[in-house]
């Protein structure tokens, strides 16, 4: 017994070191697996509050840029509205349910953006109080940004597409061939599209959009254009570098998409699998 106590006293620094090291390795491993980093998380009262406070000041420097984006988006929406009006002039709606839309949009402000690490996260200023929860898609008027991973009362943490753990299903706009969107951790403007079959006609400059298979994003949200491409080692799939429409280094305001039919779709899928 005496010897054990002596041993503990003699090596107490090393033991403390090993204990704390184990803890930090544990946190690190958790952060490398999707949906598990519950403890070390900036969506909380303290860090969210600090970032929110600093962002209130920082915001003024970007107002001009954000205004331009809003005008651009308004212009696009107005032109869409014009098209719709022209098309529907001679149609009489039978009932208002035809206006029903399963997607609900929640606007939010980015209060902390990362893009230089290998695993990047974005913090936005809407949380559970604004009915933001896990697995909602996040977009801007220009393209996709990421998926909500964790929410507190007032803040949410978004796993950016610039994260090696992120994988989003997307397609070629013209031909419906789909693949997964990944990131190799290098350039914040370029992401990688993999698993597109060799049969697909890929050309430089083709548009990539979301394909709606995961129900997180509606079909047809823009992502980017093909920058360059090559066949992988097996010669059966393309590896495509996609240049994003979004400037991920300056996001500003985002829309969070809530698919109201998600539970229904999921339960149907479950029945299929059984």
């Amino acid at each position: 017994m005496q010897q054990i106590v002596n041993f503990l006293i003699k090596y107490k620094n090393t033991l403390l070191f090993l204990l704390l090291l184990f803890l930090s390795v544990f946190f690190t491993v958790q952060s490398h697996s999707y949906h598990k980093s519950k403890f070390i998380n900036s969506a909380n009262f303290l860090t969210g509050g600090v970032y929110n406070w600093v962002n209130d000041i920082d915001e003024y420097f970007n107002l001009k840029e954000y205004n331009n984006r809003l005008v651009e988006e308004n212009k696009y929406l107005r032109s869409r509205l014009g098209e719709l009006n022209a098309k529907n002039l001679d149609t009489i709606y039978q009932d208002t349910s035809s206006f029903d839309n399963p997607y609900k949009f929640i606007s939010a402000k980015v209060i902390r953006n990362q893009f230089s690490n290998i695993d990047n996260y974005i913090l936005v200023n809407k949380g559970e109080r604004d009915s933001v929860h896990n697995d909602l898609g996040v977009i801007t008027s220009r393209g996709i940004v990421g998926i909500v991973e964790e929410s507190s009362n007032n803040f949410s943490r978004v796993i950016s597409i610039l994260n090696t753990n992120s994988s989003i299903s997307v397609q070629l706009k013209n031909t419906n061939h789909f693949g997964s969107l990944l990131w190799n951790g290098k350039d914040p403007n370029i992401v990688q599209l993999e698993e597109v079959p060799r049969l697909a006609p890929v050309h430089k400059g083709d548009t990539i959009t979301t394909d709606g298979r995961s129900y997180i994003f509606p079909k047809g949200i823009p992502v980017g254009v093909v920058n360059d491409f090559e066949l992988d080692v097996n010669q059966s799939y393309y590896k495509i570098n996609v240049r994003l429409f979004n400037d991920m280094t300056n996001i500003g305001y985002v829309y969070i998409i809530d698919n109201q039919n998600l539970d229904e779709l999921k339960s149907l899928e479950k029945e299929e699998n059984e």
Partner: protein
Amino acid sequence: MNKLLISNITRFILLVLLQVLILSNINFLGFINPYLYVFFILLLPLNLNHWKVLIYSFLIGIIIDVFQDSGGINAAASLVAAYFRPYVLKFAFGVSYEFQTIKFYQTPFAQRLTYILLIVFIHHFVLFSFAYFNFTYILEILKNMLFSGIFTVLLVVISMILFRKRRR
């Protein structure tokens, strides 16, 4: 003793805020960021108990991690740097460290630089190894370690000179 405690707590808070609000967003040439909060570990009293050094270093690392959503990488890096601190001190300052008579600002510049360089590079190596968490990225890890390390050492030396002038 009380004055020392207050100055250490103030330094802790200032360095954390400086790190997460400004320094981590510099992205010089796209990826180079300094990690000035290592300065806190460097400046802890040189004769402080080793287990206290370990705990304080772990604390500053884990708080930076919470702010940056980086799992436990900063905590692990600070902890390893803190664990090797006594050995580095002995290596850098030699006999005068053994007698526990030295103060950080009263040591010769060359010895102090050795101490800073070793601690910063140990810290950065662990930091980037854990960030990539995959040794196929070894070139990226070494590149990041080298460039960020140089940036950090520069900032540490600059702030060291500034601090000393104010104290005189």
